[in-house]
Symmetry: C2
Amino acid sequence: MERLYLEDLHVGQKLVSGEREMTAETIKAFAGEFDPQPFHTDEAAAKDSFFGGLAASGWHTMGVTMRLLVDGGLPMAGGLIGAGGEISWPRPTRPGDVLHVVSVIEKIVPSRSRPERGMITVRSETLNQRGEVVQVLVSRMLAFRRS
Amino acid sequence: MERLYLEDLHVGQKLVSGEREMTAETIKAFAGEFDPQPFHTDEAAAKDSFFGGLAASGWHTMGVTMRLLVDGGLPMAGGLIGAGGEISWPRPTRPGDVLHVVSVIEKIVPSRSRPERGMITVRSETLNQRGEVVQVLVSRMLAFRRS
Protein backbone atom coordinates (compact mmCIF):
# COMPACT_ATOMS: atom_id res chain seq x y z
CA MET A 1 0.00 0.00 0.00
CA GLU A 2 1.50 3.33 -1.09
CA ARG A 3 1.53 5.78 1.81
CA LEU A 4 0.60 9.42 1.35
CA TYR A 5 2.81 12.25 2.60
CA LEU A 6 1.82 15.88 2.95
CA GLU A 7 3.31 16.73 -0.43
CA ASP A 8 1.29 13.97 -2.15
CA LEU A 9 -2.02 15.57 -1.18
CA HIS A 10 -4.17 18.12 -2.97
CA VAL A 11 -7.52 19.67 -2.20
CA GLY A 12 -10.28 17.70 -3.90
CA GLN A 13 -8.27 14.45 -3.89
CA LYS A 14 -10.62 11.48 -3.50
CA LEU A 15 -9.85 8.16 -1.87
CA VAL A 16 -12.10 5.11 -1.71
CA SER A 17 -11.93 2.33 0.89
CA GLY A 18 -12.74 -1.36 0.68
CA GLU A 19 -16.01 -2.76 1.99
CA ARG A 20 -17.25 -4.25 5.24
CA GLU A 21 -20.59 -5.92 5.99
CA MET A 22 -22.50 -5.07 9.15
CA THR A 23 -24.19 -8.15 10.54
CA ALA A 24 -26.82 -8.39 13.28
CA GLU A 25 -24.23 -10.33 15.27
CA THR A 26 -21.49 -7.67 15.12
CA ILE A 27 -24.05 -4.88 15.67
CA LYS A 28 -25.26 -6.55 18.88
CA ALA A 29 -21.73 -7.43 20.02
CA PHE A 30 -20.48 -3.85 19.69
CA ALA A 31 -23.58 -2.45 21.36
CA GLY A 32 -23.35 -4.98 24.18
CA GLU A 33 -19.96 -3.57 25.06
CA PHE A 34 -20.23 0.15 24.26
CA ASP A 35 -23.84 1.16 23.66
CA PRO A 36 -26.22 -1.31 25.33
CA GLN A 37 -29.55 0.22 24.32
CA PRO A 38 -32.46 -2.03 23.24
CA PHE A 39 -32.60 -0.63 19.67
CA HIS A 40 -28.98 -1.75 19.18
CA THR A 41 -29.11 -5.10 21.00
CA ASP A 42 -32.52 -6.69 20.53
CA GLU A 43 -34.51 -7.08 17.29
CA ALA A 44 -37.92 -7.32 18.99
CA ALA A 45 -37.40 -4.30 21.24
CA ALA A 46 -35.93 -2.37 18.32
CA LYS A 47 -39.13 -2.84 16.29
CA ASP A 48 -41.11 -0.72 18.74
CA SER A 49 -38.37 1.89 19.12
CA PHE A 50 -37.54 5.18 17.39
CA PHE A 51 -35.49 3.19 14.85
CA GLY A 52 -38.29 0.76 13.89
CA GLY A 53 -35.81 -2.13 13.75
CA LEU A 54 -32.30 -3.10 14.77
CA ALA A 55 -29.80 -0.32 14.03
CA ALA A 56 -26.06 -0.17 14.62
CA SER A 57 -24.74 2.19 17.25
CA GLY A 58 -23.45 5.27 15.46
CA TRP A 59 -20.14 4.62 17.21
CA HIS A 60 -20.04 1.15 15.67
CA THR A 61 -20.51 2.66 12.22
CA MET A 62 -17.69 5.02 13.16
CA GLY A 63 -15.45 2.14 14.35
CA VAL A 64 -15.96 0.24 11.11
CA THR A 65 -15.34 3.46 9.17
CA MET A 66 -12.04 3.88 11.01
CA ARG A 67 -11.09 0.29 10.22
CA LEU A 68 -11.83 0.83 6.53
CA LEU A 69 -9.71 4.01 6.56
CA VAL A 70 -6.81 2.26 8.34
CA ASP A 71 -7.03 -0.72 5.96
CA GLY A 72 -6.25 1.45 2.95
CA GLY A 73 -9.12 3.91 2.65
CA LEU A 74 -6.86 6.75 3.77
CA PRO A 75 -3.25 5.51 3.65
CA MET A 76 -1.50 8.37 5.43
CA ALA A 77 2.22 7.97 6.03
CA GLY A 78 2.85 7.96 9.77
CA GLY A 79 -0.67 6.73 10.45
CA LEU A 80 -4.09 8.22 10.94
CA ILE A 81 -3.71 10.61 13.84
CA GLY A 82 -6.83 12.65 14.34
CA ALA A 83 -7.13 15.79 16.43
CA GLY A 84 -10.90 15.76 16.26
CA GLY A 85 -13.82 16.21 13.95
CA GLU A 86 -17.52 16.51 13.32
CA ILE A 87 -19.72 13.49 12.88
CA SER A 88 -23.33 12.99 11.87
CA TRP A 89 -25.57 10.08 10.93
CA PRO A 90 -28.13 11.01 8.26
CA ARG A 91 -29.70 7.51 8.46
CA PRO A 92 -29.25 4.33 10.48
CA THR A 93 -26.92 1.46 9.59
CA ARG A 94 -28.89 -1.81 9.40
CA PRO A 95 -27.96 -5.50 9.56
CA GLY A 96 -26.82 -6.61 6.12
CA ASP A 97 -25.56 -3.18 5.10
CA VAL A 98 -22.25 -3.29 3.27
CA LEU A 99 -20.30 -0.12 3.99
CA HIS A 100 -17.51 1.68 2.23
CA VAL A 101 -15.95 5.09 2.77
CA VAL A 102 -15.27 7.86 0.27
CA SER A 103 -12.85 10.49 1.56
CA VAL A 104 -12.11 13.86 0.01
CA ILE A 105 -9.24 16.12 1.10
CA GLU A 106 -10.87 19.47 1.89
CA LYS A 107 -8.05 21.54 3.35
CA ILE A 108 -4.25 21.35 3.73
CA VAL A 109 -2.48 23.62 6.20
CA PRO A 110 1.30 23.21 6.50
CA SER A 111 2.53 23.93 10.02
CA ARG A 112 4.46 27.17 10.43
CA SER A 113 6.31 26.08 13.55
CA ARG A 114 6.96 22.46 12.50
CA PRO A 115 7.95 22.27 8.85
CA GLU A 116 7.89 18.45 8.86
CA ARG A 117 4.14 18.30 9.30
CA GLY A 118 0.78 19.85 8.52
CA MET A 119 -2.87 19.57 9.42
CA ILE A 120 -5.41 18.36 6.87
CA THR A 121 -9.21 18.35 6.88
CA VAL A 122 -10.81 15.28 5.35
CA ARG A 123 -14.50 14.67 4.66
CA SER A 124 -15.22 10.94 4.89
CA GLU A 125 -18.66 9.77 3.83
CA THR A 126 -19.66 6.25 4.79
CA LEU A 127 -22.11 4.77 2.29
CA ASN A 128 -24.19 1.61 2.23
CA GLN A 129 -24.67 -0.77 -0.72
CA ARG A 130 -27.40 1.50 -2.13
CA GLY A 131 -25.09 4.48 -2.15
CA GLU A 132 -26.94 6.12 0.75
CA VAL A 133 -24.82 8.10 3.18
CA VAL A 134 -25.07 6.65 6.71
CA GLN A 135 -22.33 8.78 8.27
CA VAL A 136 -20.43 11.96 7.52
CA LEU A 137 -17.15 12.54 9.34
CA VAL A 138 -15.16 15.71 8.80
CA SER A 139 -11.88 15.18 10.59
CA ARG A 140 -8.75 17.17 11.24
CA MET A 141 -5.65 15.02 11.12
CA LEU A 142 -1.90 15.16 10.93
CA ALA A 143 0.05 14.74 7.70
CA PHE A 144 3.82 14.30 7.61
CA ARG A 145 6.37 15.42 5.03
CA ARG A 146 8.94 13.06 3.58
CA SER A 147 12.05 13.46 5.73
CA MET B 1 -32.26 5.07 37.62
CA GLU B 2 -34.50 8.13 37.20
CA ARG B 3 -34.95 8.95 33.53
CA LEU B 4 -34.86 12.52 32.26
CA TYR B 5 -37.57 13.93 30.01
CA LEU B 6 -37.38 17.15 28.02
CA GLU B 7 -39.21 19.06 30.76
CA ASP B 8 -36.71 17.87 33.41
CA LEU B 9 -33.80 19.57 31.67
CA HIS B 10 -32.38 23.06 32.03
CA VAL B 11 -29.41 24.80 30.46
CA GLY B 12 -26.38 24.45 32.73
CA GLN B 13 -27.62 21.18 34.25
CA LYS B 14 -24.65 18.95 35.09
CA LEU B 15 -24.58 15.16 35.14
CA VAL B 16 -21.70 12.94 36.23
CA SER B 17 -21.12 9.34 35.15
CA GLY B 18 -19.52 6.41 36.92
CA GLU B 19 -15.95 5.34 36.20
CA ARG B 20 -14.25 2.88 33.88
CA GLU B 21 -10.59 1.85 33.78
CA MET B 22 -8.76 1.61 30.46
CA THR B 23 -6.35 -1.30 30.50
CA ALA B 24 -3.58 -2.15 28.01
CA GLU B 25 -5.57 -5.29 27.22
CA THR B 26 -8.83 -3.52 26.33
CA ILE B 27 -6.93 -0.76 24.46
CA LYS B 28 -5.23 -3.38 22.27
CA ALA B 29 -8.41 -5.43 21.82
CA PHE B 30 -10.45 -2.43 20.60
CA ALA B 31 -7.64 -1.27 18.32
CA GLY B 32 -7.16 -4.77 16.93
CA GLU B 33 -10.72 -4.68 15.69
CA PHE B 34 -11.32 -1.06 14.74
CA ASP B 35 -8.06 0.90 14.64
CA PRO B 36 -5.10 -1.45 14.12
CA GLN B 37 -2.25 1.05 14.17
CA PRO B 38 1.01 0.23 16.00
CA PHE B 39 0.66 3.05 18.56
CA HIS B 40 -2.65 1.50 19.69
CA THR B 41 -1.69 -2.20 19.53
CA ASP B 42 1.97 -2.61 20.48
CA GLU B 43 3.82 -1.06 23.45
CA ALA B 44 7.29 -1.28 21.85
CA ALA B 45 6.22 0.24 18.53
CA ALA B 46 4.20 2.89 20.36
CA LYS B 47 7.34 4.09 22.22
CA ASP B 48 8.93 5.29 18.99
CA SER B 49 5.69 6.78 17.64
CA PHE B 50 4.06 10.21 17.77
CA PHE B 51 2.38 9.15 21.03
CA GLY B 52 5.59 8.08 22.82
CA GLY B 53 3.80 5.08 24.36
CA LEU B 54 0.66 3.01 24.06
CA ALA B 55 -2.43 5.20 23.62
CA ALA B 56 -6.07 4.25 23.22
CA SER B 57 -7.75 4.84 19.89
CA GLY B 58 -9.79 8.01 20.21
CA TRP B 59 -12.78 5.94 19.09
CA HIS B 60 -12.18 3.59 22.00
CA THR B 61 -12.23 6.52 24.41
CA MET B 62 -15.47 7.53 22.66
CA GLY B 63 -16.94 4.02 22.99
CA VAL B 64 -16.18 3.91 26.70
CA THR B 65 -17.61 7.42 27.06
CA MET B 66 -20.82 6.24 25.39
CA ARG B 67 -20.99 3.25 27.73
CA LEU B 68 -20.57 5.52 30.76
CA LEU B 69 -23.34 7.80 29.44
CA VAL B 70 -25.69 4.85 28.78
CA ASP B 71 -24.93 3.36 32.22
CA GLY B 72 -26.33 6.41 33.97
CA GLY B 73 -24.09 9.31 33.01
CA LEU B 74 -26.88 10.78 30.87
CA PRO B 75 -30.11 8.97 31.73
CA MET B 76 -32.37 10.27 28.96
CA ALA B 77 -35.87 8.83 28.80
CA GLY B 78 -36.29 7.02 25.49
CA GLY B 79 -32.56 6.44 25.23
CA LEU B 80 -29.52 8.28 23.96
CA ILE B 81 -30.27 8.99 20.31
CA GLY B 82 -27.63 11.23 18.80
CA ALA B 83 -27.95 13.11 15.53
CA GLY B 84 -24.27 13.99 15.50
CA GLY B 85 -21.67 16.07 17.21
CA GLU B 86 -18.17 17.41 17.45
CA ILE B 87 -15.36 15.47 19.07
CA SER B 88 -11.78 16.29 20.01
CA TRP B 89 -9.02 14.67 22.02
CA PRO B 90 -6.87 17.23 23.87
CA ARG B 91 -4.56 14.45 25.14
CA PRO B 92 -4.18 10.69 24.78
CA THR B 93 -5.86 8.08 26.97
CA ARG B 94 -3.24 5.74 28.46
CA PRO B 95 -3.32 2.27 30.00
CA GLY B 96 -4.37 2.56 33.64
CA ASP B 97 -6.40 5.72 33.10
CA VAL B 98 -9.70 5.70 34.97
CA LEU B 99 -12.26 7.70 33.00
CA HIS B 100 -15.47 9.43 33.94
CA VAL B 101 -17.73 11.81 32.03
CA VAL B 102 -19.11 15.16 33.09
CA SER B 103 -21.99 16.34 30.90
CA VAL B 104 -23.54 19.80 30.82
CA ILE B 105 -26.77 20.65 28.98
CA GLU B 106 -25.89 23.57 26.71
CA LYS B 107 -29.03 24.10 24.65
CA ILE B 108 -32.65 22.94 24.60
CA VAL B 109 -34.74 23.41 21.48
CA PRO B 110 -38.33 22.08 21.59
CA SER B 111 -39.50 20.86 18.19
CA ARG B 112 -42.08 23.08 16.47
CA SER B 113 -43.47 20.34 14.27
CA ARG B 114 -43.36 17.51 16.82
CA PRO B 115 -44.47 18.75 20.23
CA GLU B 116 -43.56 15.45 21.92
CA ARG B 117 -39.87 15.95 21.40
CA GLY B 118 -36.98 18.38 21.25
CA MET B 119 -33.32 18.55 20.37
CA ILE B 120 -30.70 19.20 23.03
CA THR B 121 -27.00 20.02 22.84
CA VAL B 122 -24.84 18.38 25.48
CA ARG B 123 -21.15 18.98 26.18
CA SER B 124 -19.61 15.79 27.59
CA GLU B 125 -16.06 16.01 28.87
CA THR B 126 -14.25 12.74 29.52
CA LEU B 127 -11.67 13.11 32.29
CA ASN B 128 -8.95 10.85 33.63
CA GLN B 129 -8.10 10.19 37.29
CA ARG B 130 -6.01 13.40 37.41
CA GLY B 131 -8.94 15.50 36.23
CA GLU B 132 -7.34 16.03 32.82
CA VAL B 133 -9.73 16.21 29.87
CA VAL B 134 -8.98 13.45 27.35
CA GLN B 135 -12.03 14.00 25.14
CA VAL B 136 -14.62 16.68 24.51
CA LEU B 137 -17.84 15.64 22.80
CA VAL B 138 -20.51 18.21 21.97
CA SER B 139 -23.50 16.22 20.77
CA ARG B 140 -26.97 16.96 19.49
CA MET B 141 -29.51 14.46 20.70
CA LEU B 142 -33.20 13.83 21.01
CA ALA B 143 -35.17 14.46 24.20
CA PHE B 144 -38.74 13.29 24.66
CA ARG B 145 -41.62 14.82 26.60
CA ARG B 146 -43.66 12.85 29.10
CA SER B 147 -46.67 11.54 27.18
